[in-house]
Subunit: 466 residues, 2 copies
């Protein structure tokens, strides 16, 4: 009789940790050119780790940027295929003085793995390798598994996007499984079902051809700052908090009562959330939605920066020649960032003459939103797996942030992702003293095999019914 998965994990805990420490010791900082050799070293280490874990194929693919590690184990042509995504690159360590341990000399302290990449995403990515190893070693793997680990997630995933387009067949899968997000809390397991997209546009509003004396000209001449304020003010409706750009909400996915109830089932202390950022309450955004919904499943329009005229000390009485604003719109399922950018620019250009200014808009950045339907087999398998290890059903979490590569996978490979992260908000990713609780690391390795089990069962059952 073969070992149970639980027993295998229990017997190999120290080995898993030792291996992770080896992985963490490689300073694979993708944004620093000096670490270029470390990227290759890290990719090769990971290829070997995949081989040892049971991959029948494991390769390092060169790219224009950092290499991509690919591995697979095909159990059957009929079995469902899971494509695991992770990244082996990490963020820089500055400000180095604020670290209490060495970033690339991992240690356990206070029950936490400490070091750069402990969570993001070496720790979380390596859970998948070890869960896979446990499945293989115990003869219980009933899915085909493919791995792709990139080395450029922290710098925009440039090489991966191209590479995916070139390897669609090799990457064919039923679902992409990713652990690069956080739980709402240890007591509140969650699965990230949504990521917002982004349209980022800079507006330049111009009036007179130079700064004018506010006395000699004031009253006779439109002031571009006053005008831009009016224009920006008009982009959101004061009574409803809704964005007034025509067509902005076209196609926005509306959540039904049950879905909204599930989102709001997450314990969320508005008062504490507000207090932590120095506010006495959460008053922004669209009326008719909870704060949790407003920052997850509703689009926004925020000015990220504004400037114009004299900004030094004291008084300088001018009518500025121009004013500028950087505007970020977070987008949700059903919104196309290119279309929204277009609508924004058209609307602003249409309004400008009414406010007496000329405008020039520049699209600076954009990304698609992402959404994983909670009724999918993959989501249900993930939820069931987590419920079993955490003792409670995970809540669907709609993150207001963006992970551009996830929507890219959907667009390039046509595959949905399940964001089954085991981090915590206290893990200080991207900051000094990054860490990952040991308990989360092992809980992840314990939970992931269950996902494969339930996903295989669900897809086989579905196939049987056909």
């Amino acid at each position: 009789m073969e070992l149970s998965i639980a027993t295998y994990i229990e017997q190999h805990k120290q080995q898993f940790l030792d291996e992770l420490f080896d992985y963490l010791r490689i300073p694979s900082i993708s944004s620093e050119a000096a670490h270029r050799p470390d990227m290759m070293r890290c990719a090769e280490w990971l290829r070997e780790a995949l081989r040892r874990a049971g991959a029948t194929r494991a390769e390092v693919f060169g790219t224009d940027g950092n290499p991509i590690v690919y591995g697979e184990r095909i159990v059957s042509a009929e079995a469902p295929t899971v494509l695991v995504y992770g990244h082996y690159d990490v963020m820089p360590v500055d400000p180095i003085d604020e670290w209490t341990t060495e970033p690339f000399e991992p240690v356990i302290r206070d029950g936490r793995i400490r070091g750069r990449g402990a969570d993001d995403d070496k720790g979380q990515g390596f859970m998948h390798v070890k869960a896979f190893e446990a499945l293989v070693a115990t003869g219980t793997l009933r899915c085909n598994v493919k791995f792709m680990f990139e080395g450029e997630e922290e710098i925009g995933s440039g090489a991966l996007t191209t590479w995916c387009g070139e390897h669609k067949e090799m990457l064919a899968a039923d679902v992409i499984l990713v652990s690069d997000t956080s739980l709402l809390g240890w007591e509140t397991p969650s699965i990230t079902c949504g990521l917002r997209g982004l349209a980022f546009v800079e507006i330049e509003a111009t009036g007179p051809n130079r700064d004018l004396h506010s006395g000699l000209y004031g009253g006779a001449v439109v002031n571009p700052v006053n005008a831009l304020c009016k224009l920006i003010g008009s982009l959101t409706d004061e009574a409803t908090g809704r964005i007034t750009i025509p067509g902005f909400y076209d196609g926005v996915r509306e959540f039904n009562t049950a879905e909204r109830a599930a989102i709001n089932a997450a314990p969320f202390d508005e008062g504490a959330f507000a207090a932590a950022i120095g506010l006495d309450g959460l008053h922004g955004g669209e009326k008719g939605y909870t704060a949790m919904e407003r920052k997850g499943i509703r689009p926004t329009l925020d000015v990220c920066g504004i400037w114009g005229g004299y900004t030094g000390e004291g008084a300088k009485t001018i009518i500025p020649a121009s004013a500028h604003a950087k505007v970020s719109m977070r987008l949700v399922a059903g919104q196309d960032f290119e279309r929204i950018t277009e609508l924004f620019v058209e609307h602003v250009e249409r309004l400008a003459p009414q406010y007496g200014i000329r405008v020039r808009c520049q699209a600076l950045h954009g990304g698609y939103p992402y959404m994983a339907p909670t009724e999918s087999a993959a989501y249900q398998a993930a939820a069931q797996a987590m419920e079993e290890t955490f003792g409670r059903r995970p809540v669907p979490f709609y993150s207001g942030g963006s992970i551009p590569i996830i929507s890219t996978f959907e667009r390039v490979l046509g595959i949905k992702s399940i964001l089954m992260g085991f981090g915590l908000d206290t893990d200080a990713i991207h900051s000094p003293n990054e860490n990952f609780p040991l308990a989360n690391f092992y809980r992840g390795i314990e939970t992931l095999p269950r996902f494969y089990e339930y996903f295989a069962a669900a897809t086989t059952a579905a196939a049987g019914r056909e």
Copy 2:
């Protein structure tokens, strides 16, 4: 028979110019400490010039700042008294490379006196000394004349304000006569009848206690930049262009049809004015008033500077912790800058919670508006004098700018000023290559004696009627 004034002037033209050149050669830059000795030298030179011209008393008064030159000639206890104001300090000369002649080596070129102070205000002030000399020399002075020349006009007139308060009796007069402004044009003689006041306030709008991720928080949290834009936008009414601060227009002097006709009688080419500043038209300000009126007799609210959040290159997706704006309000007759500042701050503080932000306002600067009624004897005398030399009636001009000392005279000494300037907009005051047309210099010396004549006649006639 004594000489006529015209003949006296004709015979002394070269001498007047030589003396002015001596005056211009003294580099009396008030804002540069290195020129402190030049200030005293210049004041003493001017005292001697007053003596030579016919002053029976001429003194240099020490102050905490630069000295003040006082002179007088009292012809009779019954005669009206004219107090002449001017300043002997000049602006710095930077950027020195842009001068085509030496700033403190005056020359005549293309019919213009060239050098720092040629117009502002040595050239214009010295016309008064020479006109006075002509009156004395020809035995035609029928007014008492007092002179005060300060050395701090370009740096805020600090010493003069205090000094006036301490010498009210000595300075007692029926009118203050000032040449420190411009004509609308050689073909459009004008008298400046109004100066706008100023209330300048900085607003700090704060939201969260730090910049937030616009994805993770966007929608749940009020954005201080969006909110400040809405708040500023609400301060002017879009349909009427009027300022919405309650009480803002209380007491504003409304001009009657005849007065408005006189203001608009000045040839003013809106198209050319707009084109010169790169605009296709003048669309700002309050509806129902011409551009000439909007920049002269109506109050304004202009943002002189705004800033908040990320203003560097590219995209940074944050909700800024704060936003700032500097707001200048130009005020007109009937408005008290302290009251307006108070109304502004109260209004902004009242609005802030509605927009979900906290605000802190700081009054940075303020000054009273000034207005000389066109029906006064002094205005009429000035208008008659100019009509005679220019061959056409001067138009009353309401300047949108501020000359704070003029309203200070009214408040401290209780005396109205007549702003009878002979400069042109092309004189490049405060800029490199300051100049003053020779014709204007002589035209001023020719016009001013007529003012004394008509003013004496009018006040004597009025006294006779009593």
